[in-house]
Amino acid sequence: MKDLKIDTEDNLHAEAWAKSTARNKLPKHVPPDHPSQYGNFSLPRNQQNWVDPSVPDHTLRPQEPYEGFNQPSENQSNHPHNPSSVQDIGLQMNDIIEINKILDWDPRTMLSNLSFLKQKIHQLQDLVDLIVGRRSPTMGRPDELVTQQQQLITADLTSIIVQLISTAGSLLPSVKNSLSAAGPSIPAEQLGQLGGVILNTSSSVNAAALPLSSDGGTKVIADQPNPVDPTSHLVIEHLDEHESKDEEDVEDGENLPPGSYEILQLEKEEILAPHTHFCTICGKGFKRDANLRMHMRGHGDEYKTPAALAKPHKDTGSEPVLIKRYSCPYVGCKRNKDHKKFQPLKTILCVKNHYKRTHCDKRYTCSRCNTKKFSVIADLKTHEKHCGKDKWLCSCGTTFSRKDKLFGHITLFQGHTPAIPLDEAKGQAGPSTQGETNEESHKLGNMNFGFASDGEVQDLMEDVKGMVDEPSGYYSPLTFDSSNFGGFNEFPRPSFDDPEGAFSFLIPGSCNYTRKSGGESTSTNNLS
């Protein structure tokens, strides 16, 4: 491992990963096929972390060669969905952000950062060491015990990776920064190296490492014998999603040190121009992306390559010189660079929406209710989707578009009760139930993911384990899980859409839920 050490700042991260995993001595014991396993198992987590949680993870998961790993992945991958654990991650991220804020950007910062991580990992490392020590004599034997131990390690590593990903996510801007500083020509090689390091040292963390090398890394990974494309895609998607969140009120998780980015301030006219494509270098706006690409040719030869002129593959190869942040031209605004507590805007779209929403007239009136006004057409359209559906009415006269909002309101205020609309004739199940049931099923989807993930449930599982005095029962954290809950993922597709159907099947005596058998079949699929 040591020979892979690279001195550049950028690769300090990589080294950190390498170090931590080297200490765990995991790669040594990982059979050659396993990288893909790890790739797979980290996939659903990312997906669930960042992609719409209602997507059932079965559908997107590639074929797993080893079912033994399928289960742990399923179990562990559910983990981040527990609200509490998500909070945990959030906390950790905040910690790291704090560190970033306090210390300036230099190698020492990085080191202290890493030591901070080391501490975080320490307890898990002990555990892994213990197991490695226990396992070494049985090396090379495809024993059942070995698999079980690997499963245990996998479980542990997964939790480490959760932390690592969050750390990596928080470090991301600085990486970008340094990468861009190095210039466009260098990274191809360097990143390749980086990717190689990552993949060679520990393929188990490649998913975690990916955010570091947002562009080059993917390429490299694609060349690997065990392609983990889905993972990388997902990670990148996640990045995209993060960036494209055009809301200025989305919490700025970055807190870049002042000076580490370039501040651009577009003029008012430019902001209000009906442009949608903006030059990332000079900020000029265009109506069409093709025009923008033509314009980009003027910024240098690298934009003249066929690749750059082709349809946007999201700034492949070349990238901005500096991280760019935007300032609102409205003096006195918090988003204006002269403000004391200046908070930069991330993208030009953010600037546009911010400026229109905050400093412009609300020109667009909802044609339905004639009361709500908006300055951004998208907002109007969003509103129109729900306008008139404010069917949730409180006795105080307030209307709500969502039932849970109404219930939150009445829970809060003494004496308020939900009002029943007068036109709701007796004996008809209003159309309202439709939306409700949909909402319900969505919730069910969420529930599903939040499921075996609970730390508390794991406590429960441990209890159960304690009671079953068999080694197999002890080692696999999933005996509990796979046997009983395996099918649950298929579950939240309830056919509750039409209330009549729901009635008919719940009439006493005719309770024939076929769903159970469906769940079973999926669980057997998982097991076999």
């Binding site: 039932k403 029943i420 449930v457 509990f480 009983n484 579950f491 209330p499 006493p508 769903r515």
Partner: protein, 700 residues
């Protein structure tokens, strides 16, 4: 001539009366009591705590007769509408339907006696009608003088009163100042408006609300209840209120922190609901029957919360496992009843969790796969076990049952239906060791022979209920052994093809306490058996003779000796004619249910007799009978208590006749089953009227 008992002071008489009507059968006892003398009638009138009104036209009179009612049951009162409510709440009885006018005289005669009794009967509850507490917004209610009966009412049963709308409901509730419990279940169209009405009508003392199968009830209505009743609510049943979801349960748990009994069966609630339910610190009874989205995660919340939980019902919760349930029971040592039928596939390691449950009294695990260890553990750890349900359990062995029997000596009720492999040895062990056994269900236990019945007869003196339906091994000899159980009150022998008159005779002559006997398709049973039954089992109330095709008019004549008979099922008795039916109608005067489907040889004179004599009939099934227009009209108009009629495939009746018959029974009919072809042929006026009066129509 005054005897000692008639001259007793009213207090003592009322005490005697209170003992008398404590039984299930209070209607009958109360009737005999009040027929003794005027004085007795006065006691009945003043002390009667419960009233179940069958005919709406007498409602007003009855209510003024019984001013101290605690419980009013209007569930079988047909055609109850909002107008009826305002009528009965009117300040003075108008006697609109008056056929009885003795009220005034009774009032004046016993006015002093009543005052004397008022003190003993009325509790310490505040009787100040005009105190204005909680009546700020209800001026018109307070200004009116409400009838006396409203003062004492604590419980209102309004099941199946579909005709009653929110307005009437609110008025009724608002009138009953001390109302603690209201039951509006099985009014399928009840919804948020009714829930709101209950909350508005609530005078502040409401503690129990039962709203089973209010199909229109949504979270909004639940929120109304939760906010309106708040802390005071102790029991809420939302069984089959299918539109209520997590959010409703959440606000309920938020606002009603003193909830003790909660029924959310059949709701599509998820673990989120259980999380909020877990915060109910006073909850003692939770019913989650058929909640398919509840999983072990939810049960975990339950395990960590609800410290006082005593009764848990997770029947048909398909998504929970033994481990999840084990987690709950391991943390609730006070659990007394656990119902987990048809929800667990396997019980491996479940027995470990049973360790702490030494207070468990009842457990049901019907339809599961059990191993002997569970039964053993049950016997070992749960010494107080009184009731166990093992119906359709797979993997049940004789040895396991024997072990259970030897350790659970307090067992009172055991259900072994469809446990096909149970042998005599298990039943013998049960009989020998569980001497308190009162209820034994052995339906479809094919391997049972007379040996079991022998040991039951020898040891189980307290056996009350025995179900031997479809037990091939039961024969006359076995019944003779069984007849030693003198206390037997319910015996089910359906599909026991081997029994004949002899067996029935021995049972009938020895078990005189029998109230219910089921002889469905016992083709060996003939008239002589009925003769024995009618002379031996004078208390018989329910008799099923369906498809005992050998029974003839002679048997029917014997049956007419049974004065207590109230439910008779004689489906497919082709050998009986009008003569037999006339005998039954004339003899069994309190017959309330009669099912004579496929009695093809009964003709009009039989139905005429029914119309003339069986004035207490409430439910009839005339499907596939030969009944003419005139006869059906006679029956439906003359029988003033008819509430439920099944009139499918009436040979001989025309559409017009049926329409007339329905019209004649508008006022009382609550449920009618008709041929689906008639759905569009019957005049819309009839259908609309029936519907408006709260009648349920079923189409075959």
């Amino acid at each position: 001539m005054p005897t000692a008992i008639t001259s007793l002071p009213l207090e003592l008489l009322s005490l005697i009366y209170s003992f008398l009507i404590a039984s299930d059968d209070y209607d009958y006892s109360a009737k005999s009591f009040r027929l003794v003398s005027k004085r007795f009638r006065e006691v009945d009138s003043l002390c009667r705590p419960r009233l179940r009104v069958l005919r709406v036209e007498f409602l007003q009179t009855l209510l003024s007769t019984y001013p101290n009612l605690r419980e009013l049951d209007l569930s079988v009162c047909p055609a109850l509408q909002d107008g009826t409510v305002s009528l009965v709440l009117a300040p003075r009885p108008h006697n609109l339907f008056s056929r009885v006018s003795y009220r005034s005289s009774v009032c004046s005669v016993a006015a002093s006696a009543r005052d004397e009794l008022e003190h003993s009967c009325s509790r310490s509850r505040s009787r100040s009608r005009f105190s204005g507490l909680g009546f700020e917004g209800k001026v018109e209610t307070t200004l009116k003088v409400l009838p006396r009966w409203t003062r004492q009412i604590e419980k209102l049963i309004l099941c199946r009163t579909s005709g009653l709308g929110p307005v009437g409901l609110e008025k009724l509730l608002a009138a009953c100042e001390g109302l603690q419990s209201v039951d509006v279940s099985y009014c399928c169209f009840n919804g948020d408006l009714e829930a709101a009405a209950i909350v508005r009508g609530n005078c502040g003392s409401l503690r129990e609300i039962i709203m089973d199968k209010s199909l229109q009830l949504t979270d909004i209505g639940v929120a109304k209840i939760a906010k309106g009743c708040g802390e005071r609510l102790e029991r809420l049943s939302l069984k089959w209120c299918l539109q209520v979801g997590d959010i409703g349960v959440e606000i309920l748990s938020n606002k009603c922190s003193r909830m003790r009994r909660l029924d959310v069966s059949g709701l599509k609630i998820t673990d989120e609901s259980l999380q909020s339910i877990g915060s109910l610190s006073k909850l003692e009874e939770l019913s989650l029957v058929g909640c398919p989205f509840v999983s072990d995660t939810g049960l975990k919340f339950l395990g960590d919360g609800c410290p006082l939980l005593k009764v848990l019902d997770v029947t048909r919760c398909n998504n929970i496992s033994a481990a999840g349930l084990g987690y709950v029971i391991a943390r609730h040592e006070n659990l007394e009843q656990l119902y987990a039928s048809y929800c667990l596939k396997e019980f491996s390691s479940f027995h470990c969790h049973l360790k702490g449950l030494n207070k468990l009294k009842a457990i049901k695990v019907d339809g599961s796969v059990l191993s002997g260890t569970i039964l053993e553990a049950l016997g070992k750890y749960c010494p107080l076990l009184e009731e166990i349900g093992l119906s359709k359990v797979k993997g049940l062995t004789d040895t396991g049952l024997v072990q259970l029997a030897y350790s659970s000596i307090k067992l009172k009720s055991i259900d072994l239906s469809c446990c096909n492999f149970i042998m005599d040895s298990a039943i013998c062990a049960l009989a020998v060791s569980c001497c308190h056994l009162a209820i034994l269900k052995l339906e479809s236990c094919c391997a049972i022979t007379k040996n079991s019945l022998l040991s039951l007869g020898m040891h189980c003196r307290s056996l009350r209920e025995l179900d031997l339906t479809d037990c091939m091994g039961v024969d006359d000899e076995g019944l003779e052994y069984l007849s030693k159980c003198r206390g037997l009150s319910c015996l089910k022998l359906g599909l026991c093809l081997a029994i004949s008159n002899k067996g029935i005779r021995s049972v009938a002559s020895n078990c005189q306490e029998i109230i219910e006997i089921d002889l469905y398709r016992c083709i060996g049973v003939r008239d002589e058996a009925l003769a024995a039954l009618s002379s031996g089992c004078k208390k018989l109330r329910t008799l099923n003779l369906s498809y005992c095709t050998e029974v003839t008019d002679i048997g029917m004549k014997h049956l007419s000796q049974l004065k207590q008979l109230s439910a008779l099922e004689i489906r497919g008795l082709v050998n009986i004619t009008s003569i037999g039916l006339t005998a039954v109608a004339a003899g069994c005067s309190i017959l309330t249910e009669l099912d004579m489907k496929f009695c093809e040889n009964v003709n009009d004179s039989g139905f005429w007799a029914l119309a003339l004599y069986s004035r207490n009939l409430q439910q009839i099934n005339f499907s596939y009978c030969n009944i003419s227009d005139v006869a059906i009209c006679m029956v439906m108009s003359n029988l003033t208590r008819i509430q439920d009629a099944k009139l499918v495939h009436l040979n001989g009746a025309t559409l017009e006749g049926l329409e007339l018959a329905l019209q004649a029974s508008f006022v009382r009919i609550k449920k009618v089953k008709l041929l689906s072809a008639l759905r569009f042929k019957l005049s819309p006026y009839i259908l609309d009227t029936l519907r408006a009066r709260g009648c349920r129509m079923r189409w075959d």
